[in-house]
Symmetry: D2
Subunit: 162 residues, 4 copies
């Protein structure tokens, strides 16, 4: 099965970002892909909620060893016990990455995904590092792996790369 990883802010989301993430989760499920994420709140929870609405399968790779930290919409909890090293697993597991909002944790995942040679779909207008990461990589050849897309187009664009 193909897999799409969703990354982004673990925290309270602006309502429009919550809607974007939920929409992306639904689109992942409707496309027949498995949704991979870090298993926590915020963007991860909204995306998993969307995927479950559409009958999809969700996987959450947690930093801690405590499965109860997973949000309520994760089917398969991987309690890694590896702390932030789990960020590398979250991105290595996806055929493509979708990013919304986020801070330094999300930035580490975007950077790692680029390093792995994976395409990263940054949702326009979702805020945080997602909207600004290209500014850190202005002349870097890997910047071409970053695609700025609208939430409603993201999964359709992803599927072209899988």
């Amino acid at each position: 099965m193909n897999k799409i990883t969703v990354i982004g802010l673990d925290g309270k989301l602006p309502p429009e970002v919550d809607r974007m993430a939920e929409r992306i989760g639904e689109d992942i499920a409707n496309s027949g892909c498995v949704l991979i994420c870090g298993g926590k709140k915020g963007v991860m929870e909204a995306a998993c909620r969307g995927a479950k609405k559409a009958g999809g399968i969700t996987v959450g790779i947690l930093p801690s060893f405590d499965g109860s930290e997973a949000n309520d919409y994760v089917d398969v909890v991987i309690p890694s016990g590896m702390g932030y090293a789990r960020n590398t697993l979250v991105v290595s597991s996806g055929d493509a990455i979708v990013s919304l909002n986020g801070s330094t944790g999300t930035l580490s995942e975007i950077a790692m995904a680029l390093n792995y040679g994976k395409p990263v779909f940054c949702i326009e207008g979702s805020g945080g590092v997602t909207d600004k990461v290209r500014n850190a990589l202005a002349d870097d050849k890997r910047v071409s792996q970053i695609k700025m897309v609208k939430a409603e187009d993201a999964i359709r664009e992803c599927l072209k790369f899988i």
Copy 2:
């Protein structure tokens, strides 16, 4: 969803061990649990084959970063790129562990599972370290987490602990 991890030899199996592993995979799927494994051949492949026969979901956490190393019956491939450190993920992800046959890799997983406080169901007569691991832990209090069971009873016994 509850998850049961299957560990054991990555290599050519005696036919009766292949049948045991396949049976266990079927029983995991029929019990509504997700099957977690290391994603490779031997015991892992036989168990995944059984789970797919019964319509279950299988997850394979690979040592390498190369998803093509997964056996044909893995639904969700987690290409960890972490080498043998992935052994800790394989056991931390299961609510209970079932072990068949195996060598030093399997022994490391049994030991890690005991260390995590998880129950380990060793299939009687499957050979390798699975049949002998208790001899390394004769006076250790953790030896009580090891249950020697017949293949046909393993998942029923597992479910009592989940």
Copy 3:
């Protein structure tokens, strides 16, 4: 012993960046700190070379399991076998981080260090993501952990935070 982590481009360096990295390695050793790095070439090798000139101790945490990938100036090789997950170890091991030049691997390490709450000293004029990372974090509260410093001032500034 206090430890300072040096991160940056694994590849051929402009001569002035090589000199900056070597200078920083020397200053780390002269301050009595252990130099931690990813063990490879480029910035890592130049910094280790500098530290050994000054009689310091160097540790290299490699992505692979093959110790021979370490540069010639690493005293203690940690062949992690964990791929890019080793990036988290490289930054978790340092009390402060010094960054020069670099691409997406370096960006992942800067982001992870900020995530861990560590101070990151970016060497002005060293190029690559080191010079531009702040642009990805414009309004993020963690941007204050990034200090832009000249190479010759870096370790003196670091020591104020250790």
Copy 4:
């Protein structure tokens, strides 16, 4: 520099095991090798104490992200934040492994070291899994990597394999 990893019980030791571990630490330092360990108490602390008496260098790779968990004799603390996954680093970092006493954590490290093809020197009479691990691997070809040695001979024997 060559490196020898010492593994074993993290807890209160019988006095004779404490003496054995301290002796081994001293011998490692006197042979010019770096001592690698898990950084905690018990066997690890006794071995580090011995190494520091003899002026050696000690490295401790901790499971947690909290460097204060290291024993007082660790020079270079690697706070991995990776939980038990750090066990794989502890053994991958040594050219040879010396084991004393121990329970399931130690057993996981012995098994992982054998899996990596490394020689494991088990100290005779130190108790725990160290004295019994061969019983779990009776017919396994990797059992030949286990050498049962007296504490006073261990490092001399190690050096033949490095």
